[in-house]
């Protein structure tokens, strides 16, 4: 799982009900035709089918109101599914109350018990399970040690900083050794630097313990950093379920392309199509090559939205196969490790190119006109929204 090689070689499968590489076993968690409606008319979650393998780190990513949190709450037992079944290890759990599901959970606001010391917070699930004092104390110490908070055992949660509380919440969700841990935007309340640090810590703990983690967030970079697979939610539906690299490199529709990472969009129509390349004529003139992804059966003449990442745009390309467009440099912003260049390209004045700031001077200036282009495989022709 920790091995990873560049532009990932994992092939993408279309069915959202796919199982991972451990597909020979029963999936650890399975959503089967799950729907949820609060008011009886509109569905917040529409026909969810999802299998999560044992030991997987799966992230539910989406904007607020996309249904991702509702799914987590149904899995935790705090919401009931309107229809469909949710199973753990093949056993339906719809009728199991939350306190009998044996699922660890980390909440956004930590939900530490303010009237108990840190040690008592961690001992609570062990006390409920009637584990004897000595073993309980030992397990609490071990869990605190794991999150490097052993010295804080006698403190009250109110005496800790946000990041420290986060660690305690994590330790408490793991101390009773659940096989499944849910995390509901656990890092949402932390500042950026601490959030990134905790992302790596959680990832490392996951790798060490091998528990299954279902993680909910609206932060795409968090999802990319931590997950084995990401389910991108929008409008109550999983738009794409894939590995981080696949999501970024091969988005299946405009929503995913736009939501994951930065993205330039250009509208055009399909002019010609060959094996794995399409010739697209843009609205404002000019023709470019792209990889056809989500265009109809008889695509010639259809509208499409091209999606190209800012860092994949090539300035003054030398490769002769690349079709070029004219671009006007409108703005240059220095951002430390890269320079952000806003251009006017084919009528779009928000066309962004990221130029790495690697010592060599790029010698661009505002007002300049240059040629830009890209490899056909880096540009994807998606559904016109």
């Amino acid at each position: 799982m920790s091995k990873f090689s560049g532009s990932s070689p994992i092939t993408y499968k279309l069915d959202t009900d796919m199982t991972t590489n451990t597909s020979s076993q029963t999936p650890h968690v399975q959503f089967n035709g799950v729907q949820k409606s609060y008011d009886g008319t509109s569905l917040v979650v529409k026909d969810l089918n999802l299998s999560i393998a044992k030991g997987e780190f799966l992230t539910m990513l989406g904007p607020s109101g996309s249904g991702k949190s509702t799914c987590l709450m149904m899995l935790a037992g705090f919401e009931t599914a309107t229809c469909g079944t949710i199973s753990i290890n093949g056993r339906p759990i719809n009728d199991t109350p939350p306190h009998k599901r044996n699922i660890g959970m980390v909440f956004q606001n930590y939900a530490l018990f303010p009237h108990m010391s840190v040690a008592d917070n961690l001992a609570y699930p062990l006390k409920v399970r009637k584990i004897d004092k000595d073993e309980s104390a030992e397990r609490v110490s071990k869990a605190l040690d794991m999150v490097q908070m052993l010295d804080f055992a006698p403190r009250r949660p109110g005496q800790l900083s946000g990041g420290q509380q986060q660690r305690i919440a994590l330790a408490r969700a793991l101390v009773f050794e659940p096989e499944l841990v849910l995390m509901d935007e656990p890092l949402g309340a932390l500042d950026k630097q601490l959030r990134e640090k905790m992302q790596y810590e959680i990832k490392h703990i996951h790798q060490r313990l091998g528990v299954t983690i279902v993680y909910v967030t609206h932060d795409q970079s968090e999802a990319l950093t931590m997950s084995d697979r990401v389910a991108v939610f929008n409008d109550g539906i999983i738009q794409q379920l894939a590995s981080p690299a696949d999501l970024y490199e091969r988005p299946e529709n405009s929503f995913v392309a736009q939501f994951i990472g930065e993205n330039n969009q250009l509208a055009g129509t399909v002019k010609e199509i060959t094996d794995d390349e399409a010739l697209i004529s843009l609205k404002d003139g000019g023709e470019v090559l792209a990889t056809p992804v989500k265009i109809g059966k008889n695509p010639i003449g259809e509208n499409t939205l091209l999606s190209i990442r800012p860092e994949r745009v090539i300035l003054n390309p030398t490769d002769e196969r690349i079709k070029t467009l004219a671009g006007d440099v409108l703005e240059l912003i220095y951002l430390g490790d890269h320079i952000r260049c806003r251009m006017l390209v084919a009528g779009n004045d928000q066309f962004i190119v990221k130029i790495p700031n690697r010592a060599e001077n790029i010698g661009l200036s505002v007002g300049e006109k240059i040629k830009i282009g890209w490899q056909a495989k880096d540009c994807r022709a998606l559904d016109a929204v």
């Binding site: 939350p98 939900a111 018990f113 303010p114 009237h115 699930p125 900083s161 946000g162």
Partner: protein, 279 residues
């Protein structure tokens, strides 16, 4: 208070006006109360200054005489039981109303706190007529029920206020960690709302100890409470013993306020926002 260099005349006027106001409020509010206390230690029978000498005779009379002893006993019994009942009912009502969302919730809430809003004379009159029918006038039970009704809204309000600050995610956290609903209520919810419950209980006790109008209507001679006894003392034979009683009640009230303040501080400390390195 030091003025910034650019403080305007308006700022200064406001500042001194506030000072003068404070002094005026002080004189009209605290002075009358302060007058009572020294007089209760006066060795003479006269209830005015100058004092004739120091003596504890009125306190001896207050704690020693039969009628005052009965009044102390009655106030304690009625105050204690009505506090217990009001606390239980008020807490249950607060938890029930804050947890669930049901039609008529606002109406029920308004009804439950109405004893605070409806003139006491009317409540007293209604209870007098109602108790006449069911034979509860001139009885401990009748007085305890009446004071429970009057004290319950305070418990409801203080517990509700505490519940507003209570994070319901703690209940979910408790459940996810394996605690049954009853275990979570007793071990997670109760300790966190305890300061509100205790404040409410204090208020309910103070209400009962203070209340005289309902007692005047529905209590018989053998159920006279302290304020009722003071009231008739003034009517019948004005003696400095009343001042001793008043001083004792002031001390009790001050102690109750102190306890309330400590509870508030404790609850504030528990709920204080998180400070830390990553603020």
């Amino acid at each position: 208070m030091s003025f910034p260099p650019y403080a305007t005349t308006g700022d200064k006027i406001w500042y001194y006006a506030f000072r003068i106001f404070s002094v005026l409020i002080f004189v009209f509010l605290l002075f009358p109360l302060l007058v009572i206390i020294p007089l209760s230690f006066n060795s003479g029978e006269m209830m005015h200054y100058p004092l004739q000498g120091f003596s504890l005779q009125w306190y001896q009379d207050f704690f020693g005489s039969q009628r005052w002893a009965t009044a102390i006993k009655n106030s304690a019994i009625i105050g204690f039981f009505s506090m217990i009942l009001a606390t239980i009912l008020g807490t249950v009502a607060a938890v029930g109303i804050n947890r669930a969302d049901f039609p008529g919730k606002q109406l029920l809430l308004a009804l439950l706190i109405s004893p605070m809003m409806i003139p006491l004379v009317i409540t007293a009159l209604a209870l007098y007529l109602f108790y006449g029918k069911i034979g509860l006038n001139d009885s401990y039970l009748g007085l305890i029920i009446a004071h429970t009704i009057l004290g319950m809204p305070f418990v409801l309000i203080t517990v509700s206020a505490t519940l507003q600050g209570f994070d319901y995610n703690l209940m979910r956290a408790g459940a996810s960690l394996g605690g049954s609903p009853i275990h979570v209520f007793l071990n997670i919810v109760m300790p966190n709302i305890a300061p509100g419950v205790a404040s409410g209980a204090m208020f309910a006790f103070a209400t009962s100890l203070d209340e005289v109008v309902v007692v005047l209507f529905i209590a018989g001679p053998e159920h006279r409470t302290l304020p009722r006894q003071m009231f008739s003392g003034i009517r019948e034979q004005l003696s400095p013993t009343i001042l001793a009683a008043a001083t004792v009640l002031i001390v009790v009230a001050a102690l109750l306020m102190l306890v309330l303040e400590l509870l508030r501080k404790r609850s504030e400390r528990l709920n204080k926002p998180i400070e830390g390195e990553d603020a």
